[in-house]
Amino acid sequence: MPEDNVLVKLEHGKKSFGDVAVLKDISLEVRKGEVVAIIGPSGGGKSTLLRCMTLLETLDAGSLSYGDLSVAEDNGAGHAVYGGKDVMKRAKSRFGLVFQNFNLFPHYSVIKNVTDAPISVQKRPRAEAFERGRELLAKMGLADKEDMVPCELSGGQQQRVAIARALAMDPEVLFFDEPTSALDPELTRDVLKVIRDLAAERMTMVIVTHEMTFARDVADRIIFMDDGLVVEEGRAVDVINNPQQERTRAFLSQYQQG
């Protein structure tokens, strides 16, 4: 099949909150090993797009699939029809999400945050989950922190635990919702480094971010969203260094001044 390596496919996604159309008509494909950055002004629909793709929100219209698994299909009358509980459960095992505010479980130790879902959701053997958890924490530079609780860690460390927690589920694709927006610049650096390392390993990632330099350096492809639509899409270097659309230029110029 030609689309063998498409891990996520969203077609003609639409989403409104009340009268406000947040996603107007969005189509997006993510291929295996690809890093996609989504940029754009606040309120442009980036987070809603991510929340729809991670099933935290439901699309009003359009279709969404994870590889060969169809999650939502357009019924032809402009309505997205979602699969049953089983389909949703299988879909959730294919992706991970890293939140802006980490959302670690505060009452669990670092290692338990990373191992509990593999053990109690995926039913993996404890020893295996712990081994994998420790391996991931080491990779995040947090090998000595496994017995701490999240409140004892800095924001940057917490976010790296959150990344380890998501990776412990062995997702095919990892979504990031502004992973460094809640962090100080110095802590941001550590988190971005971890994401860069993952990109170097060809981890498939979709990152909503305000870090333009980072997006340009790490992403293969950049999507500029505004007003519920994809305004511009292309190779990362091209979009950042040589934007074609006026709105993209205007948006990027704010960053160059700063």
Partner: protein, 212 residues
């Protein structure tokens, strides 16, 4: 005198523990029903809580004691006094506990639910593993208040004629023409509550290993 007070205290303890055993879990059910997305269920629970909190516990006790006789013609007995007391205490305290649980459950940030959802936890797992442990920590001080009030509220059973500690003390005061039994009863209540405070303090300390 002390042995008689001690016997009364035994009954007080029974009321206290039986009420907790019944109302702590019943409160969870009431709280969840109160937050139900099925509106009529939520309304019924809101009404139930309103009645339980809005009328005197003593009156509820009398109502439950006499209702079987007036409605079904069942004769009343000494045992039914005790049973009525327990039932009244349980349904009354469940309403208060339910509101405390609800405040705790609603204080858990949305992000916790979303993180659990994305990781694939079932709704039951999310509640039992992620939400409930955090709720318990948050509601502990409010629960402490309510449990201490319960210790003292057991004395209301006096009104219906259950021989708990306050009833015994009152009888002793009358027969011995001395206020001393009241003083001893007060000491009993206070020591009991002191123990409750120590236990709650321990639990709070145990859960103090994290903050959010």
């Amino acid at each position: 005198m002390l042995s008689m007070l001690g016997q009364g205290f035994g009954v007080t303890l029974q009321i206290f523990f039986l009420t907790l055993v019944g109302s702590l879990p019943l409160g969870v059910v009431v709280a969840l029903a109160r937050m139900s997305r099925v509106k009529p269920i939520a309304w019924i629970m809101k009404f139930y809580i309103s009645v339980m909190r809005g009328t005197p516990l003593m009156l509820q006790m009398f109502f439950i004691y006499f209702a079987p006789y007036y409605i079904f013609g069942i004769p009343l007995s000494m045992e039914s006094k005790f049973s009525a007391t327990i039932v009244a205490f349980i349904i009354n305290y469940a309403a208060y506990f339910a509101e405390i649980y609800r405040s705790g459950i609603q204080s858990i940030p949305r992000g916790q639910y979303e993180a659990a959802e994305v990781l694939g936890y079932s709704r039951l797992q999310t509640f039992m593993k992620i939400v409930l442990p955090q709720v318990i920590k948050r509601i502990l001080p409010a629960m402490g208040n309510e449990i201490i009030t319960l210790v003292k509220d057991t004395s209301l059973a006096f009104a219906i004629g259950v021989a708990e500690m306050f009833s015994t003390a009152k009888a002793l005061v009358a027969s011995q023409v001395s206020m001393l039994p009241f003083v001893f009863a007060a000491v009993f209540y206070w020591v009991f509550n002191f123990v409750v405070e120590v236990v709650l303090g321990r639990v709070e300390k145990k859960m103090g290993y994290y903050h959010d």
